[in-house]
């Protein structure tokens, strides 16, 4: 019973992430990176939809600090992308992207602790599934609902765009995301792999 409670609290805390100064700075820089990549680092596919490399940022932030920081990064980053891109506010897509970032940033919750260098095949598979499910949830349900309510967009077009976005984002998240996660994990592992030596040589 007691053990169970501890575990529950642990998951709640993992979902919230830890909010210290480093988290705030990471989220800020992540949002800026997200905005810049969203505007300048995309490969256009469809109106409103790009094969955007910005999707990597919530993965990195999520891997380091957890899903809620990833969500804030994506939400703020999207507003900033709208401000510097100057194409008007698209809150429907901002909310959708934030929801997707939350799903993608779940990494520490299922045990892929990038900061301790833990990322193996099992985590990669769960990560890929999370990416696809998160995209379907965000762009298949959340974005069309807000799109219809806020801007009366035509749902057929929105679903087509959502389909393209899901395909594009998932491919970017899996093709670029997994190598970057492995790279980051190995970098952190190289730094944190210190162990206490039990010797009396000196």
């Amino acid at each position: 019973m007691e053990n169970n409670q501890v575990k529950k609290k642990g998951i709640g805390r993992l979902l919230l992430g830890e909010w210290k100064t480093a988290t705030i700075v990471t989220v800020g820089i992540g949002a800026a990176l997200y905005g810049v990549l969203m505007v300048y680092g995309g490969i256009p596919v469809f109106t409103n939809t790009q094969l955007t490399t910005a999707m990597i940022i919530p993965v990195v932030v999520g891997g380091l600090f957890g899903p809620l920081p990833a969500l804030v990064t994506c939400g703020v980053g999207n507003v900033i992308a709208d401000l510097i891109g100057g194409w008007g506010m698209w809150f429907d897509w901002s909310i959708g992207n934030a929801v997707m970032a939350f799903c993608v940033g779940l990494l520490p919750v299922y045990g892929a602790k990038i900061r301790e260098g833990v990322f193996n095949v099992k985590h990669a598979v769960i990560y890929a599934v999370c990416c696809i499910l998160g995209n379907v949830l965000a762009f298949g349900i959340v974005t069309p609902v807000f799109s219809y309510l806020l801007y009366a967009s035509d749902l057929n077009i929105t679903f087509l765009q959502a389909f393209a976005a899901t395909l594009g984002n998932s491919s970017v998240l899996i093709v670029i995301g997994i190598p970057i996660l492995i790279l980051l994990a190995s970098r952190f592992k190289a730094r944190t792999n210190l162990s206490q030596e039990k010797s009396n040589d000196y």
Binding site: I29, G30, I56, I57, D82, F91, S153, D154, L155, I180
Partner: protein, 306 residues
């Protein structure tokens, strides 16, 4: 890239620039809500006047603005409309509530008067939203943005995130261009004419890794500097950018209150108490002739299940 950036980092000289951050963010939020709340072109067109006047009064550099507007017009206006007519030509039926054929191209592709009206209204709405964003981006500096958000009772740690992000954009943009140029010098091909999509995806990954690692590499030192200056010790903080209210502030805050009241009244009366039968008012469709359509009947993928 630099002349495409419309956001503003230096406090400007005009009356609007000199307002406090709180007033700017308040106006921006209320105005965005007002634009989102309505689909009535009789309301949207007058709403566009004020941001337009604000942009003109700030004497900006018009080149990037014209470029941005052209881009929006091309993607949302032209390509979006063509796609709309190709995918669901009868969208006017759902949102305007009638069907008057203008031109029949093929059996499933046709142009109706109502669809054209729908395109016009959504475009006016997007333009209004665009003008509001541009006016806000032109008059606000990062610190004013942060202090303004705090004025709206957003927790100050979130405000700092916004200000930090806003402030590091030029740095990151520079680094991004540097890395891209040096990668291109080493023979990484990013041109769509010469490299396939898969290859470009791979190369983009190769370009992203140094950008991400170098950007996030500075986190520790910035966080330490902030910690050393006592960031996050107290529950409240003051803002250097927040100053005493000017005359323009008082006028604009009174206007903001009026706008909020008008928006609330509009939503309460025209959306809840006495709603128009369909989304958009249209001059050549009288309310008696409107036929209501269920949105779900128009979804193309639901027809597959019949």
């Amino acid at each position: 890239m630099n002349n495409r950036l419309v956001i503003n980092f230096i406090p400007g000289p005009t009356t609007l620039h000199k307002m406090t951050g709180g007033t700017k963010v308040l106006l921006f939020v209320l105005y965005t809500i007002a634009v989102i709340a309505t689909f009535d072109i009789r309301v949207l067109l007058p709403l566009m006047v004020l941001p337009l006047a604000a942009i003109v009064s700030m004497k900006p550099n018009y080149k990037p603005l014209v470029f941005l507007f052209g881009f929006t017009f091309l993607t949302v206006g032209v390509i979006g409309s063509v796609m709309l007519i190709a995918v669901s030509p009868d969208v006017g039926m759902v949102h305007v509530g009638s069907h008057t054929l203008v031109m029949q191209i093929t059996e499933s592709i046709y142009v109706t008067k109502e669809t054209l009206w729908y395109i016009l209204v959504t475009f006016v709405k997007r333009t209004a939203s665009f003008l509001v964003v541009i006016a806000f981006a032109l008059m606000t500096t990062p610190s004013e943005f942060a202090s303004g958000l705090n004025f709206l009772r957003v927790p100050y740690k979130i405000c700092i995130i916004v200000s930090l992000a806003y402030r590091t954009i030029p740095d990151i943009a520079h680094r991004f261009i540097d890395i891209r140029n040096s990668m291109m010098m080493r023979g990484v091909e990013l041109d769509s004419r010469r490299a396939s999509l898969g290859k470009r995806l791979k190369y983009t990954g190769a370009m992203l890794a140094p950008l991400i690692i170098s950007s996030f590499g500075r986190v520790e030192s910035i966080a330490n500097a902030m910690d050393l200056r006592g960031f996050g010790r107290h529950r409240k903080r003051t803002w250097y950018a927040e100053h005493e209210l000017t005359r323009a502030d008082r006028i604009m805050r009174a206007f903001a209150a009026a706008l909020a009241a008008a928006t609330l009244f509009y939503i309460a009366y025209f959306k809840i108490i006495n709603p128009y039968p369909v989304t958009m008012w249209c001059p050549f469709v009288s309310p008696e002739n409107i036929t209501k359509t269920n949105v779900f009947d128009t979804l193309f993928f639901l027809k597959w299940f019949d």
